[in-house]
Symmetry: C2
């Protein structure tokens, strides 16, 4: 049986276009309050590049800018490898819908080679996943039902002066982790202004950047186990805030780091 994540990130190659273009379709299971969950859109890009016949290696970096809401239905992703070096490859992409550009971005793929290695910073020390209750988001956040979320700090139950959320996170139903799924998880934190205010507000990601630290072997070792995800905003003001996050796997392997800029509106506006 195909996992709903794989259904939602499936694309079809379009032969007619002058650039390498694929067609994707929004999936109701990953709807957000307005349009699709940004994480599933980003994951679709990573999957489409990974499946490109000329791809070199695995994802290293992704930036996606959400320029306009994506409507339910079909959208087109045009991909271009603008430069291929010996160990890395630079991509640009454009997402169009109804003859309008709704998103743009860049990706870097590359080959990982063994070098001196170390991880700084501490993986969140959390109670065992089975000791933390799973929480649901409200029904109007459809995409969140595809994640098993166990908040240790920063759930949406009360306003907090600290915008940090730290949780156990995995696909629901469980699914072996791969680069597209990891991409989506780096956007699976609800907007930090919700946590600061203890309520929902108009907010949306403007720009998301994810760096992939995991190797294929590390993802295979992680399998379908829950990861530890943590994110925090630093400065909120003038209609925008940043969010920095990390995704940690078993054995304290840092799988990804991520940084995003989010738009929000408050009652004063």
């Amino acid at each position: 049986m195909t996992h709903v994540f794989d259904e939602a990130t499936t694309v079809e190659k379009l032969d007619s276009a002058d650039r390498y273009t694929v067609r994707a379709t929004t999936h109701p299971a990953y709807n957000n309050m307005v349009g699709p969950f940004g994480g599933i859109t980003a994951a679709t890009v990573v999957r489409a590049v990974s499946d490109h016949p000329d791809v070199l290696g695995d994802p290293l970096a992704l930036t996606i800018n959400f320029a306009a809401p994506i409507a339910e239905g079909e959208w087109e992703l045009a991909l271009e490898a603008i430069r291929t070096n010996r160990t890395n490859q630079h991509w640009t992409f454009t997402i169009g819908q109804n003859d309008q550009i709704v998103a743009t971005g860049t990706a870097v793929f590359g080959v990982r080679r063994e070098t001196w290695a170390d991880t700084e910073g501490d993986a969140p020390q959390l109670p065992p996943v089975d000791d933390v209750p799973a929480t649901d988001f409200p029904d109007f956040i459809a995409w969140a039902r595809n994640y098993d979320k166990r908040f240790v700090t920063g759930s949406l139950e009360a306003a907090s002066d600290d915008s940090t959320s730290t949780l156990w996170l995995r696909d629901e139903p469980p699914r072996p982790l791969d680069f597209p799924a990891l991409t989506s998880m780096t956007d699976a934190f609800f907007p930090r202004v919700f946590l600061r205010h203890g309520t929902y507000m108009p907010a949306g990601t403007i720009s998301l950047t994810t760096y992939f630290h995991a190797t294929r072997d590390e993802l295979a070792a992680q399998g379908a186990n829950s990861v530890r995800a943590t994110a925090r905003g630093t400065r909120f003001g003038n209609g925008h805030f940043d969010q920095y996050g990390q995704i940690w796997g078993d054995a304290d392997v840092l799988l990804a780091t991520t940084h995003q800029l989010v738009y929000y509106k408050d009652a004063a506006q």
Copy 2:
């Protein structure tokens, strides 16, 4: 007298191109070990977008991917505003040199409006700038001579198990802070692998993302005073590491946050 930073980020509009294109020229004062310092290239992009006749507002986000070394001499920057919304504007850009693409990226500009605001996290508490001695980088890092750098932690004098550098930083000679100068400062940390190893190694930024939190008024208030800059790498391995950084101004105003992915090579390769 024109400041060397302004000389180095000057561009000239090319009328012949089919896209809006400007010509820049590398400036020897901002050379790095190989090619120009990435910060000055990023700053030139921000200045060129800011000077575009159709620009909306001020910089919110910038991502630049360095696909190949830029050689000394002229380069061309093609800019496109792919979507202008009511309060923000999405740009894509390509940097070409000798008919090759050497860098690509995206920028988001926009209008800042007053909203609920707060800053989390702590500004680095440092001794007064005049109590910290200025340090020089070796002569072959030309660009660093255009910065007054006063390291409180993480100078390059000894290997460290912690890749954090925290310093007072300003243009040298002093220059009032603006968005291009702030952009450049977010790339002014030397590669974190140098600090971990206590020595220089082949390394270079692959992708740099900066979020601009400062308002124009905050930049004006900062003037030419030194900012507090701090950066740290989290995971080093397989030829890459990430670096997360913050730039703090007077009165503990967070001016910018930044995240970059860096390539490195060690003796084992």
